[in-house]
């Protein structure tokens, strides 16, 4: 599962209120949510993001509200993977549950710059910054989460197993 795109870099503690502000939570339409993704910290994100691009966050990415609208908005905006030093726990499980690829890798989170072209192999956790040539290795997911991801999300996993 290879993905490649340009990096959009943000800082620590990117909360779900800035990923998708609550004033837009009166809908759950994916494309509509995506049209406001990140606008409170980066009003040009929606204009600039292209299919396959990658978000690089610092620590505690996705903290705050449990709104699944946040990973939904990111996924529907075309982002193919989020790399961060750490993820807030609800965002972490929401992403896995809806099939938004995420990788925890403090070194990559520190070093990848905005605009770098980055390729990611989700199954091995290998991250390559093609602009700098540097390769990183994210912690692989435990087998249970791999199964969830391979099934295509929680709904499919439960349908198959319960």
């Amino acid at each position: 599962m290879n993905r490649e795109g340009r990096a959009f870099r943000y800082g620590d503690n990117i909360d779900t209120d800035v990923i998708i502000p609550a004033r837009y939570l009166n809908t759950s339409e994916h494309k509509e949510l995506a049209s406001h993704c990140m606008e409170d910290i980066d009003k040009d994100f929606v204009k600039n993001v292209k299919e396959g691009d990658i978000i690089v966050g610092g620590k505690n990415f996705g903290c705050g509200s449990s709104r699944e609208h946040a990973p939904i908005a990111i996924k529907a905006s075309g982002i193919s993977c989020v790399i961060a030093a750490t993820f807030a726990r609800i965002f972490f499980r929401n992403s896995i549950n809806i099939g938004l690829p995420i990788l925890e890798c403090p070194e990559a989170s520190r070093e990848i710059q905005s605009g770098d072209v980055v390729s990611v192999d989700i199954s091995t956790g290998t991250i390559v910054d093609k602009t700098t040539g540097k390769e990183y290795k994210a912690e692989p997911f435990p087998p249970f989460m791999q199964k969830l991801i391979e099934a295509g999300g929680l709904a499919e996993y439960i349908k198959e197993n319960y």
């Binding site: 800035v18 502000p21 609550a22 759950s28 449990s66 709104r67 750490t86 499980r93 929401n94 439960i158």
Partner: protein
């Protein structure tokens, strides 16, 4: 193997003799909760799980509280979606406007949560019910849908940080000041993926409302849950609320903790979190230079009766400062009625406050108190992120009801004891 109370509850719910931190488990759920923002997404997902009906119509709670009474047409459509689902699935605990309230004040009040329960809610502040000795945590809408379909959720058993509380609070210091103090100390990711357990002889001095406030904001330190031991106060509260029989789990004396932090309750002062993170804590007494435009007293964190009493004790015989709007929001209908009968509304209205019907409204920038560019609000809510209560250039300062009321009177951030 010795275990913490969180580990014991999770082990029982997973049908295991013991569990250890890091272990992935499937746990049986006692309650699955959703609101008007998160339930519509879950309801849309529900058919994908391949189950004809929900696992148990009595163990699901649907509480439209965020944008209700409906703030606009889209919000009304979302509530209609939740209402229709509740009807078609015969969900017993669906709370219509008129019975509803802010979910995390409502569920304990209605006796829907008890000690030893495992509860998930598609709302991050579901960790509130740790106050009654439950394992309770926030999840997203897909987890909620899965919970409704099969009555189970997957968890990674968390490590636990133990907070040993000693002594008792000084006057005007509350559970809100304690949890802000802790978040200021360990940071907004200080308990990431972990359980926060509160113990020590100081626990007995905390009221149930204080404990709800503390557990409520565990998520603001990144925690999975924030749990209190069950004592006489808990049992009395559960009995009064009509909750089902508590299952009491106690941490073993030799349970293994990731960290142990000792806190002297007597050393804590009225505390305020400055923008834009709950960890930016300062003593309220340092805020005199910070002029404010609005005060909000309410929410799942601080909209309970004792919170309203605290605010009223400050506002009695005083006036809200010129140029300040003070919005009081009792969290549930029961709290509203009790506050009214106690005469608290007379105090609020005479001092120049407005009293709203129960809603989460302004806390998340929904409605009923949105901030304009450059405005500042002292709020008893739980988050002060960029744009949380309105314009991205507005500011939210988190505080206790005492401090919020004192600030409303002064027109700037003020410690309650200074009045």
């Amino acid at each position: 193997m010795p275990m913490t109370m969180t580990e014991k509850i999770l082990a029982a719910a997973a049908g295991e003799k013991e569990v250890h931190p890091g272990q992935l488990i499937m746990a049986n759920l006692d309650m699955v909760l959703g609101n008007d923002i998160t339930s519509p997404v879950a309801i849309k997902e529900f058919p994908k799980f391949g189950k004809k009906n929900v696992f148990d119509k009595d163990r699901i709670a649907l509480v439209p509280d965020h944008f209700t009474p409906n703030k606009d047409i889209k919000a009304a459509e979302q509530c209609a979606c939740v209402r229709a689902f509740a009807k078609s699935e015969s969900i017993k605990n669906y709370f219509e406007v008129g019975q509803a309230g802010v979910e995390h004040a409502l569920l304990p009040e209605q006796g829907l949560v008890t000690a030893g329960d495992v509860i998930i809610g598609a709302d991050s502040h579901t960790c509130t019910y740790g106050a009654v000795g439950a394992f309770s945590t926030g999840v997203g809408s897909t987890d909620m849908a899965a919970g409704m379909a099969i009555g189970k959720a997957w968890f990674k058993v968390p490590q636990t940080i133990l907070f040993r509380l000693h002594g008792s609070f000084r006057p005007y210091v509350t559970g809100k000041d304690l949890i802000l103090h802790i978040i200021g100390m360990i940071g907004v990711d200080g308990a990431l993926y972990e359980a926060m357990e509160f113990a020590g002889e100081g626990v007995s001095s905390l009221s149930m409302d204080d404990r709800f406030t503390v557990s409520n904001m565990a998520v603001e330190a990144g925690a999975k849950n924030g749990i209190f031991p069950v004592d006489d106060k808990t049992l009395a509260y559960l009995k009064e609320s009509g909750a089902k029989e508590p299952r009491i789990y106690q941490s073993d004396p030799d349970a293994v903790y990731d960290r142990i932090i000792d806190i002297d309750l007597g050393s804590i002062v009225p505390t305020v979190s400055y923008p834009h993170l709950p960890e930016n804590t300062h003593p309220a007494s340092d805020g005199a230079g910070i002029k404010i435009d609005q005060v909000v007293i309410g929410s799942c964190t601080n909209g309970r009766l004792s919170d309203l009493r605290a605010a009223a004790s400050i506002l009695k015989g005083r006036k809200v400062a010129d140029g300040v709007r003070c919005i009081v929001i009792p969290a549930t209908q029961k709290i509203w009625k009790e506050a009214m009968h106690e005469g608290l509304f007379d105090i609020f209205i005479d001092s120049g406050c407005v009293v709203s019907t129960p809603t989460c409204g302004p806390c998340l920038g929904g409605y009923m108190g949105i901030l304009a560019k450059g405005e500042r609000c002292v709020s008893t809510t739980n988050r002060n992120f960029v744009g949380r209560m309105g314009h991205t250039e507005s500011e939210v300062y988190l505080a206790s009801p005492y401090t919020a009321a004192a600030s409303a009177v002064k027109g700037f951030i003020a410690a309650p004891e200074a009045l």
